[in-house]
């Protein structure tokens, strides 16, 4: 019972926000469909999960949306080999590039925010190269059909995305390598002193992030059967909002896949509800921005209050001792 209670306490804010969003969306639009909105935005969830892993490890992967665009383009460009094969190739390439990125960051000891700003531009350029500057399409349009087979209310691709998110959750919380990422994010020097291998941690974190970015991009391309060199740029902001609204700390070491998924669900409901109402996309952008600001301010306020309580307690103790 106590563990269930702790679980609820951790995610209380997010659950309340999610319920509020759901209620208001149903109130505004009785025809609102939860399933279809989750289904449509699964790629965002996968990308948010990847971003969450690097953030938990105390790093930051700004290049993830460019990685998604790149792998989407690769998946379409190689679709002559069969779409499933090309999607798998795109994901493997994404993982390898991500690992390379993690290795470079660890070896150089460079701030990942700085390095990934560079690779953000670089991967975007590679996307343009793959696409030859134009939107490209799959030759055989029927090839995308196999990804649209529905099991329950989800397509096979979305189920793959969900499986990856759940798998990552288990990896982070139940395996040694996953726990090491938390250690690296929470207290880097202490973790390294305790024997956590920094290089391996970075390679794992950025490999996962690259793989998730690639999977997200490949999902979009495989469903639509096309790729655009300038697409998916907004994914970075959307995924970052999802992760932060979910309560994963930018400082590292805090947050789980459940937080990432809750954050993603909130963002997905907001944008889906907006689309259902027929208002323009920028309205949901406004709400996502406001929500993000409210969540970080609330978080700040909570930590401020708890810090003040702690100080007061210490002061009382000191006074009692004197």
């Amino acid at each position: 019972m106590s563990s269930v209670g702790a679980w609820f306490k951790t995610y209380l804010l997010q659950i309340i926000v999610l319920i509020l969003v759901l209620v208001s969306m149903y109130g505004l639009n009785p025809n609102f469909h939860v399933e279809s909105s989750i289904e449509r935005l699964i790629p965002l969830g996968v990308i948010a999960a990847g971003l969450a892993v690097t953030m938990i490890a105390g790093e930051f992967d700004l290049s993830i949306a460019s990685m998604a665009a790149f792998s989407g383009a690769v998946a379409v460009a190689l679709s002559g080999l069969g779409l499933l094969v090309s999607v798998i190739i795109a994901i493997v390439v994404g993982i390898l590039l991500g690992m390379l990125q993690g290795w470079a960051i660890a070896k150089l000891g460079i701030n990942s925010l700085v390095f990934t700003v560079g690779t953000l531009i670089l991967l975007r350029g590679m996307t343009w190269l793959v696409c030859n500057g134009l939107a490209i399409r799959v030759d055989d349009i029927t090839a995308t059909d196999m990804f649209k087979v529905k099991i329950g209310f989800l397509t096979s691709l979305s189920i793959a995305g969900l499986v990856v998110i759940i798998g990552l959750g288990i990896f982070l919380s139940r395996t040694r390598w996953g726990r090491e990422l938390y250690a690296l994010g929470g207290g880097r020097h202490e973790a390294i002193a305790a024997g956590v291998r920094y290089n391996r941690g970075m390679i794992v974190a950025f490999g996962i992030s690259g793989g998730c970015g690639a999977l997200g991009g490949a999902l979009v391309s495989a469903k639509g059967g096309s790729a655009d060199p300038s697409a998916l740029g907004v994914m970075l902001v959307a995924a970052l909002s999802a992760v932060l609204v979910g309560g994963i700390s930018l400082a590292g070491g805090r947050g789980t896949m459940v937080s990432a998924f809750l954050g993603f669900a909130i963002i997905a409901m907001l944008s889906a509800g907006r689309a259902g109402l027929g208002t323009k996309a920028f309205v949901s952008e406004l709400f996502i921005g406001l929500l993000l600001l409210v969540v970080v301010l609330f978080d700040y306020f909570l930590s401020f209050v708890s810090e003040r309580d702690r100080r007061n307690k210490l002061r009382k103790l000191a006074a009692a001792a004197a």
Binding site: I110, L113, G125, W128, E285, L286, L290
Partner: protein, 329 residues
């Protein structure tokens, strides 16, 4: 040799190494630009002409002004703002609206710049409380973009019947006004960061927040100053941009934020704060504009241009980082 002598020798040695790497870091980019200029003049037809160089400078000016302003934030240890585009577009819309209403482009420019500064101050205050700049500016960017799009209904805002392009097209000795403004803005920013109390405080806050606070520097006040400088640059850049285009839309300038961040990083200002200068960022912006223009003249397609730019940014950022590390070892 006594131990103290050994230590002092060792320290001298280190400071020598540090000076050397500092010199390399300061001069690497200017030399690189000169190199690109010389090579391009020799091998690219049409490059070594007044018009080309003028267009490079004009390309640099808007990104450059914002990059110089952003340097204040980066120097103060607050990373960078990811909400440049939204604020610039908002302020540009204000410029055109007020210009349309009053018919006077100076009043319009003043109002637009004040609007940008007010937005910046609010963000500066929130960041000053101790919240992460990246999140706050990203959220603020989304809100401002949403507001701009709602206010303009997502449509193109255009000035009709009034002439507002003066700031963008006015020329002195054949050189457009934005270039002068860019140079003056950079010079003023350099003076403020290097030779005034506020500038010193920004540097110190970025070098070591705790030490700065203990020595009586207010993190809140200094952060707000840095954001004021930054939002001022956005306001100016927005006015110039809106004057040049004579119209603006919520979806305009999508690449501005990343261009500015790239210029600051390539220029060599440390993201960790405390180390850098507005002039470096201005040179970074100039460098990016120069190689872009060279590639345009060589008729390299957009895709390849983007790719080359990415390679250059990654390579420069890594080299600058290694040099800085070697200097502080």
């Amino acid at each position: 040799m006594t131990i103290t002598e050994k230590i002092s020798l060792r320290l001298q040695d280190q400071s020598g190494l540090r000076r050397r790497t500092d010199t390399i870091r300061t001069w690497a980019l200017p030399i690189l630009i000169v190199l690109v200029f010389v090579l391009a003049s020799a091998f690219v037809p049409e490059f070594f002409k007044f018009e080309t160089i003028r267009s490079i400078l004009l390309l640099t000016s808007i990104t450059g002004i914002v990059a110089v302003g952003m340097t204040a934030i980066t120097l103060s240890g607050n990373l960078f703002s990811l909400g440049v585009t939204a604020s610039a577009v908002f302020s540009g819309v204000i410029y055109i609206w007020v210009g349309q209403g009053t018919g006077n482009m100076f009043i319009a420019a003043a109002v637009a710049i004040v609007a940008a500064v007010v937005i910046g101050l609010i963000q500066g205050f929130i960041v000053g409380l101790g919240l992460n700049t990246v999140i706050v500016t990203l959220a603020a960017g989304s809100i401002i973009y949403g507001l701009t799009a709602i206010l303009t209904k997502g449509e193109v805002v255009q000035a009709q019947g009034v002439s507002l392009e003066g700031f963008g097209t006015f020329q002195i000795f054949g050189i457009p006004l934005p270039i002068y403004i860019f140079v003056i803005f950079t010079a003023v920013a350099w003076f403020l960061t290097e030779h005034t109390l506020i500038g010193r405080n920004v540097h110190l806050l970025g070098s070591n927040k705790n030490t700065a606070r203990s020595s009586g520097i207010s993190p809140m006040g200094t952060t707000i100053w840095a954001f004021t400088a930054f939002s001022l640059s956005i306001g100016i850049a927005a006015v110039l941009q809106a004057s040049q285009m004579h119209q603006i839309q919520a979806d305009n300038l999508p690449g501005l934020t990343m261009d500015v961040v790239a210029a600051v990083l390539v220029g060599g200002t440390a993201v960790t704060g405390g180390d850098g200068s507005p002039i470096k960022s201005a040179i970074g912006a100039l460098f990016i504009a120069t190689i872009t223009q060279v590639m345009v003249l060589m008729s390299i397609p957009e895709g390849q241009r983007y790719f080359v730019l990415g390679v250059v940014v990654v390579a420069l950022v890594v080299v600058l980082h290694l040099l800085r590390k070697a200097g502080t070892r």
